[in-house]
């Protein structure tokens, strides 16, 4: 057991967390404007956009992975574009994984933030417009500071969900050590090779970290709600 621990290769964990970190940052920057738009608009395209955003929630990862695989290959316009302009091969590379994760985890970032914006008291936003502030300034100075619990939920759930991703990664990234072999894939391979001790250690680490992160979120949210909860409808 101790020998196993000494020879434990932590690269898959590092890779998992790097992937989750990049995905979370990119998705946060994309999702705030999208969620703000969805929460404020009465446009007819809203249900269409919402359905598109939620699609990764219901699709089997293999279906999603399959389409991402096809669209990122050098035969497709997207894959060809990246290869010609940036000289980046998206398939079976870390960059491709980040792109795939952003699609896969999109609803986990957009939905909590959109929910947060929707609970904001509308006259409060109107008061900001009447004070002469633009929509953008209202978003930055009034809306965002008052939905901190929703922002934190979005960030943490997206991060955790990306760490836990398996099917899409296997299809788009394969299992290349130091490039696309993340923790979840590594565990799968260990079980396949009947290396149960290593699988146990990896899995237990995953369970422990995930639980602590979620616990942190719920404790923080409970405190925030107790503080400003009565200002939300």
């Amino acid at each position: 057991m101790i020998e196993v621990l000494q020879h434990l290769d932590l690269t898959p964990f590092v890779l998992s967390f790097k992937l989750a970190l990049f995905t979370t940052i990119i998705l946060f920057l994309l999702s705030v404007p999208l969620a703000w738009y969805l929460s404020q608009t009465d446009s007819e395209i809203k249900p269409f956009l919402e359905a598109m955003t939620a699609l990764p929630l219901v699709l089997p990862p293999s279906v999603l992975g399959f389409y991402i695989l096809i669209s990122l290959s050098t035969q497709s316009p997207i894959g060809a574009f990246f290869e010609e302009i940036f000289d980046i091969k998206l398939l079976f590379s870390f960059t491709g994984l980040v792109l795939a994760s952003c699609i896969y985890s999109l609803p986990f970032m957009v939905q909590p933030i959109q929910g947060g914006f929707e609970t904001l008291h509308r006259p409060m936003l109107e008061a900001s417009y009447i004070a002469g502030k633009s929509r953008f300034e209202t978003l930055l100075r009034v809306a965002l500071p008052n939905i901190k619990p929703a922002l934190l939920t979005g960030i943490i759930i997206t991060f955790a969900h990306t760490v836990g991703e398996f099917g899409v990664i296997l299809m788009v990234g394969g299992s290349i050590p130091h490039e696309t072999k993340v923790a979840s894939v590594a565990i799968y391979e260990m079980v396949e090779m009947m290396d149960y001790t290593a699988a146990h250690i990896y899995s237990a680490l995953m369970v422990l970290m995930s639980f602590l992160v979620l616990l942190g979120v719920y404790v923080f949210n409970a405190k925030q709600t107790a503080k400003i909860g009565r200002f939300h409808r």
């Binding site: 002469g132 500071p145 503080k227 200002f231």
Partner: protein
């Protein structure tokens, strides 16, 4: 001078109706807008603020805010809006609310002193009472030195004592800044105390417009007092009958003749009026 001539279709709870308002408002006036709920009072304020649109035109000091070709955005209309339920920003202190609107520390301090909020400048809204929150709302609306101040039932969520206090503060602010003010209110004593003119809306139309004295003191016939009430019970006492009538929260006993009860049923709405007597006004010891 504000010129308003607008039409807007409203989807009411029971049926659709047309909000049709054609009024002119003198500079520096204080106007109350009254009427039962659903008569279009709040919508009128929201159209003036630019929060909703309508057909027709709105001109303020000769400048077009709304007509068929143009719509001045909310941000550029110089208005203050006092929301009924405060609509404060939970993330900002009292002082930050005011400076958010305009970085004018001198004006902010003056407003905070006039409303007695200066000691609470560093507090967040969730630590304040209802009356204090409404004062922040009011000060925030005044920070833009607005051409028009719009107030949507600003005092209806407060208790009587707080209401009277705030009425005086709003009056003081109006005397100091001379802002043309439109206030939606249901409370006749509030309207009488504060406004120079009252406009009564009913189902989207103006049904009365004049000085509060003329509009509010109108009672049918030559009666001195007139109350609306509901018959709770009718009991016989010897040759006469006594009707128990609820007027608001208060129950009263009124003597009625056997002839009169012919047309009365329990639960019926009635009006009770009296004339030709000298009423007694007694000082009411305040308990709070």
């Amino acid at each position: 001078m504000i010129e308003i001539d607008i039409v807007k279709k409203l989807h009411g709870v029971e049926k659709d109706m047309l909000l049709k308002v054609d009024i002119q408002i003198e500079d520096e006036s204080f106007i109350a807008i009254s009427g039962v709920s659903g008569s279009g009072k709040t919508t009128l304020l929201r159209i003036l603020a630019g929060l909703e649109t309508a057909e027709g035109y709105i001109k303020v000091d000769g400048e077009v805010w709304l007509d068929t070709h143009s719509f001045k955005p909310i941000q550029q209309r110089e208005i203050g809006f006092v929301f009924q339920d405060y609509a404060l920003f939970p993330n900002m202190t009292v002082e930050e609310h005011l400076l958010f609107v305009q970085k004018d520390k001198k004006l902010a301090l003056e407003l905070l002193e006039m409303t007695g909020l200066d000691a609470l400048a560093k507090r967040k809204p969730f630590t304040l009472s209802g009356g204090q929150q409404q004062r922040v709302n009011l000060c925030r609306a005044m920070m833009r030195r607005p051409k028009v101040l719009l107030m949507d039932e600003p005092l209806s969520a407060l208790d009587i004592a707080m209401r009277l206090k705030l009425q005086n503060e709003i009056k003081a602010l109006h005397e100091r800044f001379k802002t043309t003010t439109l206030m939606v209110s249901h409370d006749p004593s509030e309207i009488y105390h504060m406004a120079k003119r009252v406009i009564v809306l009913k189902s989207g139309k103006i049904v009365d417009d004049g000085m509060p004295k003329e509009v509010l003191l109108k009672t049918s016939g030559s009666a001195k007092f007139s109350f609306e009430g509901r018959i709770i019970d009718i009991v016989q006492a010897d040759v006469i009958y006594i009707a128990i009538i609820a007027i608001g929260q208060q129950l009263t006993e009124i003597v009625v003749t056997p002839e009169e009860i012919q047309d009365m049923t329990i639960g019926q709405k009635v009006s009770i009026s009296t004339k030709a007597f000298s009423p007694l006004v007694q000082y009411h010891y305040r308990t709070n």
